[in-house]
Amino acid sequence: MQHPDEGTIQAWLDGELTSDEMLALEQHVADCAECSGNVAEARGLMAAASNIVRSLDSVPRGVIPVPAQKQRSWFASAQLRAAAAVVVVAGASLLVARGMQEPEWRTETATVAAPEPVAQADRAASATDALAQSANSAVASSARQSEKPNPSRRVAVTPPSVASSGSGVALSAPQVVPAAPTVSPPPFSAPSVAQRNRSENQREERAAAAKTVESASQTNVPASPIPLPTAAVSGVRKSEPAKRFTGALTAGPYFSGPPPVVLRRDSTAAMIRTTYMVSQGIEVTLVENTVSSFEESAAADRAPSEPRDSWAISPLSGATNINSISWILLNDRRVTLSGPLTVAELELVKARLPASKRERVP
């Protein structure tokens, strides 16, 4: 037998030779020192290559690049949020103190809801704390929810109703309802170790703040003399252009980031649309077709229909730079995620969606 080439040696070691070929090769190698050395080398390379390839198995998820955070909104700063909260609390306290002497309230919030009656004056301290927390979302949301060109313009509202109790003055104040019963999502940071630590701290802060806001906004929380400010959002967003996201998303592991907050969900016979808030003023829309992609294609073939991406257009009129990504679940349902984000950012948002929206459906 001739000296086997490296391909034949490889096939032998991979068990790809016939039994006759293997026998012949083994006999030759046993008698040929050079080929014996080649076989030993090939065995070593096979083992080393296998080990190297197995090293690839310890990879993180979501290593798609994200842009570094270029700028942060002024209200995203923790210090400014705290300062704003102090201002709101001071203002509310002042108004409480002045009470009946102040026939008119002035507030920088353009949209207000009807005041609610209050019951117990001795809960003012806890309500003030909750007020500060809710003021974060109120201050942040009031600037963008104003229907007037100048959001800082003051608006006179209905004087509060005042009731007195034995221990103090129960007072209602104009309320601004938050968009969601949880705090806004955290600011985003670039994926470095230092910034991941900061995001961890922010997650803890958010969790603490969320507990406070949630407890304050729930109906079973005892009524307070100073109702919590909340922000009304209905209908206001549509007059504003979509905000272009300029920050980086929360660093990895991306798959363990907090799920986006569900703002609203509606459905038709053919699809379910869910709108998520991923950041202040940044919404994405997830559209799930309830018909299979086969039926979808068949329907498209039979009759022209509106463009597939029509549902991917942002509800914010005049929005530009809307991207979308689409995938198919194992039950053959097409899912499309769209929003004012880059494709890479949408991929990271996708990773934060519930598993049933991004993976197979059993």
């Binding site: 490889q10 096939a11 198995d57 993180p60 194992l330 993976e359 197979r360």
Partner: protein, 172 residues
């Protein structure tokens, strides 16, 4: 159990592992695997299931890589992530992270055909399946694998030597 269930249970783990090793991103790998099984559902019959699945998955990766150049930058970011995470870890984990980073670089330094042949072989595909999946002659699969293994190991060892040189220079 339906056919697709059987296909999924039989091949999904190996397919995702193959794609993860190829792409360096498990999320992306699962996405491609999912799309592969979706396409399998549309087939009336599949003669060689494993070869077919790996072929389709490989073609999907090629198509996506051509369309989105940003995904190729994940290699550099992976190395950066590994360095960042390794900075806070114990020596053992640091070493493992460095090995993974070197492995990534070494595998990506291979020619595409050599890389895919090697990764498929590691998932247990035989020469016939590799030949079918990559569109190469059966007789050349052994040579391709031999070349891939040799170059992979050589490149990996070169990276290790570079690191050792850097450490020696830093210490002196």
């Amino acid at each position: 159990m339906s056919d697709i269930d059987r296909l999924f249970r039989t091949y999904n783990a190996a397919l995702v592992r193959y794609l993860t090793r190829r792409l360096g991103d498990r999320d992306w790998a699962e996405e491609v695997a999912q799309e592969t099984f979706m396409r399998a559902m549309r087939q009336d019959t599949i003669v060689n299931e494993r070869a077919w699945l790996f072929t389709v998955a490989t073609n999907l990766v090629r198509d996506e890589a051509r369309k989105d150049a940003r995904r190729r930058r994940h290699l550099a970011l992976l190395a950066e992530e590994e360095r960042d995470s390794a900075a806070d870890d114990s020596a053992t984990t640091l070493e493992r992270a460095q090995e993974a980073a070197f492995a990534r670089k070494a595998v990506d330094a291979l020619a595409e055909r050599d890389r895919l042949a090697l990764l498929m072989k590691e998932e247990g595909l035989n020469y016939g399946e590799i030949s079918e999946a990559l569109g190469i002659a059966l007789a050349s699969v052994g040579t391709t694998l031999s070349r891939a293994r040799r170059r992979l190991v050589e490149h990996y060892e070169a990276l290790q030597h570079e690191r050792e040189e850097r450490e020696r220079n830093a210490a002196s």
